[in-house]
Amino acid sequence: MQYSKIKLKDHLRETRLFGSRVIFAGVGVFLLLLVLISRMIYLQVLSHDHYTTLSQNNRVSIISVPPPRGLIFDRKGKVMAENLPSFTLELIPEKIKDIDTTLEGLQGVIEISESDIKRFRRALKRNRAFKSLPLKFRLDEEEVARLSVRQHQFPGVDIKAELMRHYPYASLGVHALGYVGRINEAELKGLTTDYVGTTHIGKTGIERYYEEELHGSVGFRKIESNARGRVLRVLEDQPPIPGKNIYLTMDLKVQAAAESALENRRGAVVAIDPQTGEIIALASMPGFDPNPFVNGIEYKAYRALADSLNRPLFNRAIKGRYPPGSTMKPFVGLAGMEYDVVHGSSKVDCKGWVQLKNSEHKYRDWKRTGHGETTLLGAIRESCDVYFYDLGLELGIDRIHEFNQHFNFGETSGIDVPGETSGILPSRAWKRRVKNEAWYPGETLITAIGQGFNVVSPLQLAYGTGILANYGLKIRPHLAYAVQDAENEALQYFEPEVMGVVPIVKKSNWDYMVASMQRVVHSERGTARRIGKNVKYKIAGKTGTAQVYGIKQDEKYDQENLEDHLRDHALFVSYAPVENPRIAVAVIVENGESGGGVAAPIARKVMDAFLL
């Protein structure tokens, strides 16, 4: 009681002091709340849009859905390139209780290599548990069947089907068709957004040329996913537009005939419809199976192909550069008549060689003894060189060049297969430009028989022969004749493209040349008379034998002892039927030596396959 008095006095002061501190605390609380509220206003009102965007980016992602690639059909509707399901064995770790037991169990059903298991275990550590991980790629049908039957024993094990490009005819027509492969880094740079999600692209041939049509347009799926990336639902779905189907003019039956006729030789066959420009066959042998290229060919297998002396990867039909040899003679002969230098009755006495004035050099005929008195018809039929030496000299290089240009020599044809060569149609200007040298008269002589600087591709020979057969009407060679948006929809045809017309001075000159070429096949003395036997239609043709190896003056060409790759190339150009040309065929057999004996029979087989 005695100090309660003091305390009571203190108590009043304390109460007042405490009261003021409570008010102070209240103000403090209020101020702190104000800070929090202004922070909330900043975040939720002033920065609302910014954070809404961030929040959307968190949850919504866009997945691309690649379009299925268009199919490729041959002339008769056979599928040359298709998309087959490829089966992959996949495991979803979060659905599997014991991974080891499951792996062991699976090994009891199908063969799984140690490297597959190793790769799978590595992936297991790096990925989220709900993500499906591949264990084995490219299961065969038997493996799929075995797994499917036992799938109930393996929860969390899945067989995933993907579409993979497949070429059912393997190497048949591969150089025209081409193939797809995985997109590489260089290609990636040039690609549009349409390729988001696409893994493969046309690498060569039709697959590359019509890439845009075959590819289609990518689709999108807007999905909502959670923080762990699991897809929760699809918000928006825009399906892809599938690639267009392509229909080729190639006839697989004729193509097969061409390839089997070439057998194990190195060479090329190009068959074209002169009236429409349709490529019926485009063969380059040896070929290769494009299927391993689709998913990346093994290094060893690739080296074997790339390093082979036979160069199977090389498309001889459009890229091959060969001297045309005597197959040039019909064009030079026609030039002689059209420029009024020779007539059907003009004769040249062939002694087996000619000499230019002021020169010791002898320009020899392939027949050492000579052909004697020879007309143009005879010179074509028997392939007399001396006649054309003489004609060449009279025409001069300028006119030979000018006339042959009409037949597209020295230029690309515009075929819808990438990579064709333009060859060389020599001229004064060309020699000046490339070699910086003047043109010599002797060069005109050998140009007239298709040797010297002349370079052609098999495609150019077939195209040129077709133009001749078509009496000068040039139509762009092409392999694709129609596209189709989807199966069972109408075909959209490509219009044949007329590239020009060769000006005809006298139609009888052309008739004369056709008649001469017909004699090559259908006469006793024709160089290709062997294929004229038992033939139900009329063929016009011209044989050629092109020198690969320059033999010295007066040296004899020793067939027996020459190394194989130095032997002459065998060539043959032709078309049939003569009255109504439907197929023009150019054949080149590398080191085949005999145009009439080796190349011509191949052309005959191709024509038979198409016409009969």
């Binding site: 501190r21 605390a25 209240g26 609302h48 809404t52």
Partner: protein
């Protein structure tokens, strides 16, 4: 006790007019109403934050019931009994803290739990109310405002548990405990000059604490707080994602159960420390204002109780407990919204977790005891 019962009828309290039975329960109904409203609010948010997980919500409800029950029991103890037992509670708490340091269980890189065989306790939680009790007890012994010597002794008393908790390490709790003790001193009426010098001292001590007392993970938290984008996938991830959640909520929110940040798991710790972000995302600024009003109501009611308290000990304790409650709110919302570094402080009565709720309700039980055991003073 007999005296207090006699005086009940004479009390000038808000529950005047309510029945005698309810008055005998020693419950402050205005405060009780606020707490119940907040609890219901919290359960609704937790249901969404837990991903509509009923078992989490029901476990929280069980903890809530226990906490309210404990609050009810504490409310029955008259303030002078609380005052009497204060040194014992404090001493027991310090012993437990020492025990934690010697035998404690390690969890999440810190040693906070003490296993008593049948029961696991977190002694630092006890200190949240034992510390202000102790300082108030010490200050109430002599007349106020206290002389310098007594302030220093009080700070020394406070320093023991704060240091022990900081050593665990538990920065968040040690700050809360320290501020609870300091609030008592503020209410004793010490001069503004002293408060100012104290603030300067703390500011000067900050670098020392940074270099000698803070753990790497604590420093990392502060650095991350200063620039969360420096480590968006690591420790900055929490703050970035919670700011996105709050900001994208906008004025009216995305709607209950529709917060994409929280429902799709972008927000970490969403049912515990970061639950406010879930709330702000789904209920927007409007919801935030409602929640803050509710907190403000409870705080103001607490301050009124402190103001009306009759003994020095009671008013110091009440004032400190209310302000500590406010600190919980400010620190939690401040850290979730990126104003303060991330320290593990739950949002009172909303965050999932039983221990901190029990502690909180013990404090509210004391407030109710202080309010309902008053005697009418003759003027």
């Amino acid at each position: 006790m007999a005296q207090s019962r006699l005086s009940v009828g004479l009390e000038n309290t808000p529950q005047q007019g309510s029945s005698g039975f309810l008055r005998d329960l020693h419950i402050d109904w205005p405060l009780m109403t606020g707490l119940i409203a907040l609890s219901i609010f919290g359960l609704i948010v937790l249901y969404s934050a837990s991903g509509e997980n009923w078992s989490t919500v029901s476990r929280q409800m069980i903890w809530m019931s226990i906490a309210f029950l404990i609050m009810f029991f504490v409310a029955q103890i008259p303030p002078h009994h609380i005052q009497f037992w204060t040194p014992w509670v404090f001493g027991f708490g310090v012993l437990l803290l020492v025990g934690v340091l010697l035998f404690g269980e390690v969890g999440k890189g810190a040693q906070r739990w003490l296993n008593l065989g049948f029961f696991r306790v977190q002694p630092s939680e006890i200190m949240k109310f034992a510390c202000p009790m102790m300082v108030a007890w010490y200050m109430a012994e002599k007349s106020l405002p206290p002389p310098m010597s007594r302030i220093l002794i009080a700070l020394l008393i406070l320093a023991i548990p704060v240091a022990l908790i900081a050593k665990q390490p538990d920065l968040g709790t040690s700050i809360l405990v320290a501020s609870a003790g300091i609030f008592v001193l503020l209410f004793t009426g010490i001069s503004w000059f002293l408060i100012g010098s104290f603030a300067v001292t703390v500011a000067a001590a900050a670098p020392v604490v940074w270099f000698y007392y803070m753990h790497d993970y604590q420093r990392q938290r502060v650095l991350t707080f200063l620039n969360p984008e420096s480590d968006p996938l690591g420790s900055g991830y929490h703050i970035i994602q919670s700011k996105i959640a709050i900001g994208s909520g906008g004025l009216y929110g995305k709607g209950w159960l529709n917060g994409t940040q929280s429902q799709l798991d972008f927000l970490p710790e969403r049912s515990t420390d970061f639950i406010f972000a879930v709330f702000a995302e789904e209920f927007g600024l409007v919801g935030v204002l409602v929640l803050l009003s509710l907190y403000l109501y409870i705080v103001i009611r607490g301050l009124i109780i402190a103001h009306q308290a009759q003994s020095t000990f009671a008013r110091l304790l009440a004032g400190s407990l209310v302000l500590t409650f406010m600190v919980y709110i400010v620190v939690n919302i401040g850290m979730v919204s990126g104003l303060l570094p991330v320290v593990g402080v739950p949002l009172p009565l909303v965050s999932y977790g039983g221990t901190s709720m029990v502690t909180l309700m013990i404090a509210f039980g004391m407030l109710m005891s202080i309010q309902t055991h008053r005697k009418l003073l003759t003027s």
